[in-house]
C-alpha cells in the first residue's frame, strides 16, 4: 500500500505527495499530459524534441542542470506517445531547488535559437543511433504505419522522418509550449523525506502564481476497426529473417487491458512461457521470440517479434505461431498457468515499488490516467482475471482481420563474422 495525499492549486496544477521517512532523498516528478499523439502529422517528433529543449534554459534561469547538480541532484526525462515526464532526485534538504527550477520552466522557456539548433542535431543523432544504424531498427516505424491508418500512434515518438525534426522552427516551439505546458495539463509528484505541509507551502510558493493558461482540448482521431489482414514484406541486409505480428487491443483503462497483459505473459513472459517452450526449445524454429504490448493509453497493439533460425522459412515459422495462438482460443489455460502469471505479477509489482523514483513515477502515471490510487488497486485487477476471460479475449484479438504481419527477410545468406575484425588486430 503506497500512501499519498493529493491537492490541486488554483491554477489547476495537481500535486501528489508520498512521504517516506526512511530515505535521505526526495524525488520531484513533473508529468505533462502531452505526447507524440498530440502532434500534427506534418510535424512529428515534436513532443520529444521539445523535451530536449526543456533543458536549454528557462525564463529566469540560464541552465537547468547546473543548479540541480550543485544541489547534489540528478535528473532525466522521457517522452512517449502519450506523455512527457521530467524527474529529478536530490537530497531532501535541497528540495526547494527542484521547485525553483521546475516552476520556472513551467512559467516559460527562454526560447533560444541556438539551443534549438543544437538539439535538432542531437535528436537527429539519437534518431540515427536508435532507428537507422541498427539492424531491424526501422521495424516499429513500419509496424505502426501498417497497423494504424488514422490514430497518431502511426508514428513513433522520435518522429516519422528526420526532416520533421530538422525543419522545426522556433515559432513551432513557442506554440507547442503555450498549448501544452500549462499547470492544468501537468501533475507534480513529490516523494521521499518530505512532509505534506512542507510541499503544500512550496507548491503554493513556486507554482501558485503561474497563469492557468488555456485548457488544451484533445481531439484525436480514433482508429477505426481493422477489417482486413495486413501484410508487408521487406528485404534488408540483416543476418536473420524475422517475423512480426501485431493485433489491436483494448485501451489502458479498459478491464480487458489486464487480460491482455496476462495473455502476453502466458505467451512469452519467461523461459517457461508457451512460445518460448514450443518454438525455441521444442520445435527449434526461432532463436528468440517475444510477446509484449505497447502499454499505451488509447487502444494499443499486442505484438510478437521473433528471429528465425537459419534454414527455417517465414511461412513455416508463422504457421507454428498461429497454431499456438489457436490453442489459446480453443482450450482454457490451466489453473496453474494462470496462478503462475499472477504470482509473477505480484512480485514484479512489489519489486518495482522498492525504488523511490519508481513510486513517484507510478503515482504520476496513474494520476494521469485518472486516479493515483489505481497504483494500490492494480494487483487486484490482475488477480480478478479468469481463465474464461483469457480465452474470450484471445478469440477477440487473434483474428486475421485484426492482424498486421511483417516479414523481414535477410539478404545475408552466410553469416560472416569476425574475419574482418581479426585480420585488423596487429
Amino acid at each position: 500500500m503506497i500512501n499519498f495525499e493529493r491537492f490541486t492549486l488554483n491554477n489547476g496544477l495537481r500535486v501528489i505527495v508520498h512521504e517516506d521517512k526512511s530515505t535521505p532523498m526526495a524525488v520531484v516528478d513533473v508529468m505533462y499530459d502531452v505526447g507524440a499523439r498530440d502532434e500534427d502529422e506534418e510535424h512529428t517528433g515534436f513532443a520529444h524534441l521539445f523535451e530536449h529543449l526543456m533543458f536549454g534554459g528557462s525564463l529566469h534561469i540560464e541552465s537547468y542542470d547546473e543548479p540541480l547538480q550543485m544541489a547534489g541532484g540528478e535528473n532525466n526525462a522521457y517522452t512517449t506517445n502519450d506523455l512527457t515526464n521530467y524527474y529529478c532526485q536530490l537530497p531532501a534538504e535541497n528540495i526547494e531547488t527542484a521547485f525553483w527550477l521546475e516552476s520556472d520552466r513551467m512559467c516559460s522557456l527562454a526560447f533560444n535559437e541556438n539551443s534549438l539548433e543544437v538539439q535538432r542535431k542531437v535528436v537527429s543523432e539519437e534518431f540515427k543511433e536508435q532507428y537507422i544504424n541498427k539492424p531491424y531498427g526501422d521495424v516499429w516505424h513500419k509496424l505502426r504505419e501498417l497497423s494504424y491508418k488514422e490514430h497518431p500512434y502511426k508514428w513513433m515518438t522520435i518522429g516519422k522522418k528526420l526532416s520533421h525534426i530538422e525543419n522545426a522552427k522556433l515559432q513551432d516551439v513557442k506554440d507547442f509550449f503555450f498549448k501544452h505546458y500549462t499547470p492544468s495539463n501537468a501533475i507534480l509528484t513529490v516523494a521521499g523525506n518530505v512532509t505534506v505541509d512542507q510541499i503544500k507551502q512550496l507548491a503554493e510558493k513556486w507554482f501558485g502564481d503561474i497563469p492557468a493558461g488555456k485548457k488544451y482540448d484533445r481531439k484525436i482521431k480514433q482508429e477505426p476497426e481493422q477489417k482486413e489482414p495486413r501484410m508487408m514484406e521487406v528485404t534488408e541486409s540483416v543476418p536473420l529473417d524475422a517475423l512480426y505480428k501485431c493485433w489491436h487491443i483494448a485501451s489502458r483503462l479498459d478491464k480487458r487491458y489486464y487480460v491482455t497483459e496476462i495473455i502476453s505473459e502466458i505467451l512469452a513472459g519467461g523461459a517457461s512461457s508457451r512460445l518460448f517452450q514450443s518454438l525455441v526449445k521444442e520445435q527449434q524454429l526461432f532463436s528468440s521470440i517475444e510477446c509484449s504490448h505497447m502499454g499505451s493509453i488509447d487502444p494499443g497493439l499486442l505484438y510478437i517479434d521473433g528471429k528465425l533460425l537459419k534454414g527455417v522459412s517465414l511461412e513455416v515459422a508463422e504457421n507454428a505461431v498461429i497454431v499456438e495462438l489457436e490453442k489459446m482460443k480453443t482450450e482454457l489455460i490451466s489453473k496453474v498457468e494462470l496462478e503462475k502469471i499472477k504470482n509473477k505479477t505480484e512480485s514484479m509489482l512489489a519489486f518495482e515499488d522498492i525504488s523511490l523514483m519508481n513510486r513517484a513515477n507510478s503515482l504520476a502515471n496513474y494520476e494521469l490516467l485518472g486516479d493515483a490510487n489505481l497504483m494500490n488497486t492494480e494487483l487486484e485487477s490482475y488477480q480478478a482475471v479468469t481463465r474464461e476471460e483469457i480465452m474470450e479475449e484471445c478469440k477477440r484479438i487473434f483474428v486475421d482481420t485484426n492482424c498486421s504481419t511483417l516479414y523481414y527477410r535477410s539478404t545475408i545468406k552466410e553469416t560472416v563474422m569476425d574475419a574482418d575484425v581479426q585480420l585488423r588486430y596487429p
Binding site: 547534489g72 537530497p91 531547488t97 543511433e129 543476418p239 517457461s272 532463436s287
Partner: protein, 425 residues
C-alpha cells in the same frame, strides 16, 4: 512578489555526512561467508550466490558463460522447463550472470517463498546435468545473436577496444566468436561445473524482509556443501596492442561511427584511483561533464558521450565512448583530445569543482538508499577485498581533492600518446 532569479539556499552536498549502514555477517557451517541486510518496506527478498567462476578460470573460451547460463537447464531430478516453471510459479526471478572473476546466481522473490525456492538452488549447484540438447540450442542461439550484434558498430567497438587494452587472451579482452561457441563441448561444461560450482568458492549476499529463521534456512541448504574451497587464481598479463590507432569499416550502410578512446589504468587500490573518479566525472562521467557540454550540448555531434574507469577487480582502463554522425567522427575525436588538453593546462575553477563534488555526493547519498542498494555497495567492497574504510576514504577524497591535484592527475594520465583510438563505422 517572488523573485525567481534568486536560487533558494542549498546545503552543499559536501557538507552531508554519509554513513554506510553495516551489514550482518555470518558463516555457514562450511565457512561460506554470508552478508545480509534484513530491512525494507516491501515483502521481497534478493539472494545472490557469487562463485569464483568467471571467464578468468576457463581454459577454453566461452565455457564459463555456457556453464553459468545452462546451470538451470536440467538436473538429475528435473528438466529445464520444470525448473523454470518452479521458480516462475512462485513469482520468482532467477538470473545468472558471468563476469571476469565471478559468476552469480541471483534470486528475486517474495520473502515468504524463500523456503520453497532455496532447495532448488541447492539442486542447481549440486546436480545439474547440462543435457547435450540444451547445450546445442544455447550454441545455436548464441551464434545467431552474435551475428546480429556484429552488425552494430557499438558492439564491435566495445569488443575491439578491450582487445587493444588487455590483449585477446586476457579475460578482460577475450571475446566470443562463432568458432569458440561451436567448440564448446558438454564435457568442458561438466568439468567446469565440477571444479567451480560443485567444489566452489562461494559468497552469499542477501537483502530484504528476510524470514526470522533465515540463517538456519541457509545453513540447512548450503552449510554441508563443498563451497568454501581455495581456488587458485591464474594471473594474466596485460598485452597492449602494438598499434595505437584503428579504423574498422564494419557496415557499408552505416550512418554513425562508434568511437572508443582508452588507456590502461591501474586497479582501484592504486592511490590515484579515487581522485581519478572525480576527474573522470568532470571530464565525461555525468550529464554536465566537459565532453557532454562541448560535444553534445554545444556542437550536437552525438546523442551522448561518456568516459569511465572500467570496473574490474584487477587492472582497469580509462575509456571515452560515443557514437557520432559519420561525417563528424573526426571532429569528435579532435574535441575529445582538446578537452584533455584543457584539463592538463588549466586548473579547474572553484565553482565547477564544487558542482562536481556536490553532484557526486548527492549520487553517493542515493547509492546507499535502502537495503538493496546498501548490500550492493557492500558486495562491491567485499569482492574487491576492501572494507568500509575504502568507502569513507572515497567520500573524503571527493570532499577534499583540490584543483591542483586534479591538474597533476590530468598531466599524468590524460596524455593523448597513451591512448588507443578506435573508430568503427
Amino acid at each position: 512578489m517572488l523573485n525567481r532569479t534568486i536560487a533558494p539556499p542549498i546545503k552543499d552536498a559536501i557538507d552531508f555526512d554519509i554513513t554506510l549502514k553495516d551489514c550482518t555477517r555470518m558463516s555457514l557451517s562450511n565457512g561460506v561467508p554470508v552478508y545480509y541486510i534484513n530491512d525494507g518496506a516491501e515483502e521481497v527478498a534478493m539472494i545472490d550466490f557469487v562463485f569464483e567462476a568467471g571467464n578468468n578460470y576457463e581454459n577454453k573460451n566461452g565455457v564459463a558463460v555456457a556453464t553459468n547460463h545452462l546451470i538451470k537447464n536440467g538436473t538429475t531430478k528435473r528438466n529445464a522447463f520444470e525448473i523454470t516453471e518452479y521458480f516462475e510459479y512462485y513469482g520468482a526471478y532467477l538470473s545468472r550472470k558471468c563476469y571476469n572473476e565471478t559468476a552469480s546466481i541471483t534470486l528475486h522473490c517474495l520473502a515468504k517463498h524463500l523456503k520453497e525456492l532455496l532447495p532448488l538452488i541447492r539442486e542447481l549447484i549440486t546436480v545439474s546435468i547440462f543435457p547435450q540438447s540444451e547445450l546445442e540450442i544455447f550454441q545455436q542461439n548464441s551464434i545467431q545473436r552474435l551475428s546480429v550484434n556484429m552488425l552494430k558498430c557499438d558492439f564491435v567497438a566495445n569488443r575491439l577496444i578491450d582487445q587493444y587494452l588487455y590483449g585477446p587472451n586476457h579475460p578482460y579482452g577475450r571475446v566470443s566468436t562463432k568458432e569458440n561457441v561451436e567448440a564448446i563441448t558438454r564435457q568442458d561444461v561438466l568439468d567446469f561445473y565440477r571444479d567451480f560450482y560443485n567444489n566452489a568458492k562461494c559468497s552469499i549476499f542477501s537483502a530484504g524482509k528476510l524470514p526470522a529463521d533465515f540463517e538456519e534456512l541457509l545453513d540447512f541448504q548450503f552449510g554441508d556443501l563443498s563451497l568454501n574451497n581455495k581456488i587458485i587464481t591464474v594471473k594474466h598479463t596485460r598485452e597492449l596492442a602494438l598499434q595505437k590507432k584503428h579504423f574498422i569499416r564494419n557496415d557499408h550502410n552505416g550512418v554513425q561511427g562508434a568511437i572508443r578512446i582508452g588507456r590502461p589504468f591501474p586497479d582501484r587500490k592504486h592511490p590515484d584511483f579515487k581522485k581519478a573518479i572525480v576527474l573522470n566525472t568532470l571530464y565525461g562521467g555525468y550529464f554536465g561533464s566537459r565532453l557532454m557540454g562541448n560535444i553534445r550540448e554545444d556542437k550536437g555531434y552525438t546523442y551522448g558521450i561518456h568516459s569511465y574507469l572500467e570496473n574490474h577487480l584487477e587492472e582497469s582502463s580509462w575509456v571515452v565512448s560515443t557514437e557520432a554522425g559519420k561525417e563528424v567522427c573526426q571532429a569528435t575525436i579532435d574535441e575529445v583530445y582538446k578537452e584533455m588538453e584543457l584539463l592538463r593546462n588549466e586548473p579547474i575553477n572553484a565553482e565547477e569543482l564544487l558542482l562536481v563534488k556536490n553532484y557526486m555526493m548527492g549520487l553517493n547519498l542515493g547509492y546507499i538508499d535502502g537495503p538493496f542498494q546498501i548490500i550492493s555497495r557492500w558486495k562491491s567492497l567485499i569482492l574487491n577485498q576492501l572494507d568500509e574504510n575504502y568507502f569513507y576514504d572515497s567520500i573524503r577524497v571527493i570532499k577534499e581533492v583540490t584543483s591542483k591535484e586534479l591538474l597533476e592527475l590530468a598531466n599524468k594520465y590524460l596524455v593523448p600518446e597513451d591512448f588507443f583510438e578506435l573508430l568503427v563505422i
